[in-house]
Symmetry: C2
Subunit: 355 residues, 2 copies
Amino acid sequence: MGCDVSALNTVQFSNHTGYKQWKGTRVSAQEITDLWEGLKQSYLDNFDMMLSGYVPGAAAVEAVGCIAKELREKARAKKTDDQSPGRGSFFWVLDPVMGDNGRLYVAEDVVPAYRGLIPYADLILPNQFEAELLSEVKIHDQASLYRAIEVLHSRYGVPHVVITSLPLPLSLPPSPGEGEEPEQSRPPPTRTMSVVGSSMTSDRRPRPFRIPFSVFDCYFSGTGDMFAALMVTRMREAVHNTSTNNPDSGSAPDPRLEDVHSWLSPDGVDALDLPLARAAEKVLASMHEVLERTCAAMGAELRGAVRALKGKSDSADDLDPRTAHLLRSHAAELKLSRNLACLRNPGIRYHAEKM
Amino acid sequence: MGCDVSALNTVQFSNHTGYKQWKGTRVSAQEITDLWEGLKQSYLDNFDMMLSGYVPGAAAVEAVGCIAKELREKARAKKTDDQSPGRGSFFWVLDPVMGDNGRLYVAEDVVPAYRGLIPYADLILPNQFEAELLSEVKIHDQASLYRAIEVLHSRYGVPHVVITSLPLPLSLPPSPGEGEEPEQSRPPPTRTMSVVGSSMTSDRRPRPFRIPFSVFDCYFSGTGDMFAALMVTRMREAVHNTSTNNPDSGSAPDPRLEDVHSWLSPDGVDALDLPLARAAEKVLASMHEVLERTCAAMGAELRGAVRALKGKSDSADDLDPRTAHLLRSHAAELKLSRNLACLRNPGIRYHAEKM
């Protein structure tokens, strides 16, 4: 996508954990801090944006949070020193990786660690379960969804929120035993999901939009990471291409949006005109194209892998379940490198809607 | 470049060592082996090519070598099993990182470790110093260069060799005290260097070519790694686009070159027609474009960094030498991501010549 990136690996694993078995090591909080000290001592701490994803354990989450806080502080100081607003901008995209589908897959003390850091983030990318954990609002209809976003903006002051996948429709009548596994009594899942986003107003009110998208009937791993990585570049791009369009600015020259703290659009900007909505539309377009191609290649890849393992036959049906799962996981790896054009120049397919 | 890549990091450093200071950790031989075991247990060991670069210490070099040997063995076994030659191909590009300009920068026991592994490599990418270490031939003219390549092919049986930068002309009259720092009495270095490559014949004779290229008057780090990474993709591409063109094949269908062990062209193929030469030309074309753009951006980047550090002034002249070196190193980082087109579609500029 054209961005220079420094990766600070928080694990070195042989493979992603979707395979259910892996070898390798997690880095400690101390190692994260050491690497950051190494960058600083050589003046390599000039980052415009930061993306944080899975971080192993509460101490390591704190260490990552310290990096973001220092980068923000540094940006703020620079802003004052040389009188040029914007040169000090810094934007943290925080994916609060804690769990999914009602299940926590990190240690319990990671949750309060993230709660303490969200106020320093510019954009958070929780899934439904993580949004519920952070807002302490159970999302089961439009009203509770709105309430969860409201809490995220108001309690944490986080300017931008994208909840990365919500089933649609959300406005079903409450099922009996609401709150305990309500999904079980719902109709079979529809093949449409929604991304729901919001950039808050100056008084921390939501400006929500949703983007419905089709779900492929395939198993994938890493879609959350792909979404987050693409949001970083697309958010930056959307902001740099957007005037603030401030109806209250009168004759004063509009500040460029990238010079505004947290790239927050003026209150006059409608939800559907937010850079966040533009960015999410492009990200979903890329994801659709990559997932489509991954799905299309999957069958042949799996047959090839089975043939390589068993000789002539290419049917996965008589493999033991563990082997079948491993080969299926490999065949389902997102086909990114070979589909670079889908990442760079996707055809917009999904559009933001009012909620 | 479109290839799916698995990276096994042999270090996690805050920055490259050209800065002369860094923090972080090296991985142990055990960690390398563990990660490899993790890949194998999940059937993720199906690699067509492998590139190895800097590896910390002799034990870790051995561990990396074991991975390559197992991949080769696996490819060989597969070839026999399913009767389909080529499906079992494996190609190891080994950059024997040991030192430069007469100075070893790894432990001494790394040298014999590499000597033991070169016979398992398909392509090695030593610089002049490393070629001298491996061949035990001091390169000071065309004849000694030829002899060094001859030794690399014959002693180690390594099919493809590229020596990544040699001063030109090499055929100066021997200076007094030849053998001890002969460079000192030479004329000032010309701004042309050469890449010298060779793919051996079936009786291990060299087929050498050289590609002269211009040197930019800039300091860079990581050009060796860029060269190696690009050679992997370009070698694969050149082989897939090349018929073996075997004059002795008669009416039998030509085997595709990628199905031939080590992608070694038949003896009838001239040095200038080798896939290795085509690959190196494309790599040098990309490097020229990236280095040119890096050079062009360097001044402004350095001034920006100085201004960020000192406030108004942007001259690096009155910085202390350590700080100046750090800022210069950062400004000299290869501008890769933003110049993707130079990597993917460079304009060929340098051509292979007979030696």
